[in-house]
Symmetry: C2
Subunit: 341 residues, 2 copies
Amino acid sequence: MQKNTTGLPFDDIRNLFTQLPGPDLASAEAARARDADLTKPSGSLGRLEEIAVWLSTWQGQHPPKVARPMVTVFAGNHGVTAQGVSAYPPEVTQQMVANFGTGGAAVNQICLANDIGLKVFELALEIPTGDITVEPAMDEQTCAATIAYGMEAVAGGTDLLCIGEMGIGNTTIAAAVACGLFGGAPADWVGPGTGVDAEGVKRKADAVRRALDLNRGNLDDPLEVLRRLGGRELAAMAGAIIAARSQRVPVLIDGFVATAAAAVLHALEDTALDHCLAAHRSAEPAHTRLLECIGKQPLFDLGMRLGEGSGAALAVNLVRTAAQIHAGMATFSEAGVSTKS
Amino acid sequence: MQKNTTGLPFDDIRNLFTQLPGPDLASAEAARARDADLTKPSGSLGRLEEIAVWLSTWQGQHPPKVARPMVTVFAGNHGVTAQGVSAYPPEVTQQMVANFGTGGAAVNQICLANDIGLKVFELALEIPTGDITVEPAMDEQTCAATIAYGMEAVAGGTDLLCIGEMGIGNTTIAAAVACGLFGGAPADWVGPGTGVDAEGVKRKADAVRRALDLNRGNLDDPLEVLRRLGGRELAAMAGAIIAARSQRVPVLIDGFVATAAAAVLHALEDTALDHCLAAHRSAEPAHTRLLECIGKQPLFDLGMRLGEGSGAALAVNLVRTAAQIHAGMATFSEAGVSTKS
């Protein structure tokens, strides 16, 4: 259950979000130096090399390791579902949380196949956030409390955190947040989501347009964008990403909705996501635009658009393997392999 | 060690390569039907859904499973290294085989991290193939024997096979084979390989041009292209891919050189690679063109260009996870989740 109170007003949250630990440059340099001496042509492992350096940098250790990866899924409900923006009824959020509990969802199976921990956090599902076309999603206290809840969700001991969500209606919420942060037309930010038809996509664009109109003049502060246009799972994801930074836990961001939460942090402070990688490019069309706004190149594109942290969970093994390669390969001198002529 | 004789002349090889078992349509249909009933929006797992269907189709079973994946790396040496086409001296082939033996190479670590078997096959490294700029790479007997050797390398019991290679000089060989099969300018097919500079790339293009000129008029038969312009590891990879088909083992093809070997089969029979997926897009520029020639869309692009089967090995976990998701997820009715409104 979500906590209902927090001692943190937005000013304190803002301070937390902008006073972040920086990179461990010594670990980064150690990783680069070792990589250069491994028995392979320089650069031939492509982004796996970059991943190893990134892990070292943000874990603050060399060699990096991924021994206890964790997926956190935050689930929320949204008043905007009244606007006919989803292909599924809102009760599916709760039903899918139950499905997570019994191991039947895709993310359960990905975690099982990849030896990843999974925690699902329900965020007051019985109290949907306000319908953003007619009122703010949350008041300041609720938004701040949910951010704080997300921060506490990052339990000690994990060394790679995946950020995901579940919430019928939340691609509309994510589109509204993206539009509030980065501008552009509402139609640029909406898409089929779980699978609405062309009429449904139009309803989504219209809902985003009305929400933006309602809040015009009050969207200069990214935290106000989150509060007015967002949702509980977005607030909690933002909190979890920041808590991970403080605990030196690198983060894999999942798809469109998770990226929208991360984008709030990027808008507050453009280095706030340096400890994060975008796991994948979602099939939700606006994800590409959103990734460009936060300067992230996703690791892969398998046409996934499920949420649940599924894309981030699927990326764990790439990151873990990159760490294993980096730590376990022989150097040219150890292996007696001739270097470049 | 490579066998030196075979009872198979090219006509028999050609028959083997063109009389292939087809898809198991019943298993494919069972996979599609189950996928449609799993607790996720239709299509939301993107290519993971396609992978599960592909696995069922070519394993000939439903549900599909990946319990004993295997990487086979074939190593060969090439007379064309005399033309200054590689950044590394030819003895590195043998040195890297030794490195595979002691676990120091990237592919060893990928296999270790992902619980994949690894077998490395040396192909008469002490006898490089002929320098293709002045003579055919192999005589027919050697080429046929090496194909047969590759066929025997697919031991019983594996359920997913990765095809990779090691051979200093073999991106030039692969470029020559691709140019012989698909035409175009030699410069279209060469690239930096292990990391040669612009002058080196020019030398590679020149070597390919001379090799093509030398064999002009004798390249209508893809097996002649393989024999004259190829190398032992390419012949063995072609054999392994075909043996896997006969044994109902789906195949992951690694990068540029492995794809060139596969392309020989595709040129012989355009359904010959239906049991194969291209694991990744290599950073070797011509790989994209070559993948288009055989009609394959790679699973990911991490900028890798190492060979050793490394990209294919990295894809194993995606395929295994796709199988786990397919087999393990709940259906809508099992989970009590509402379907699309």
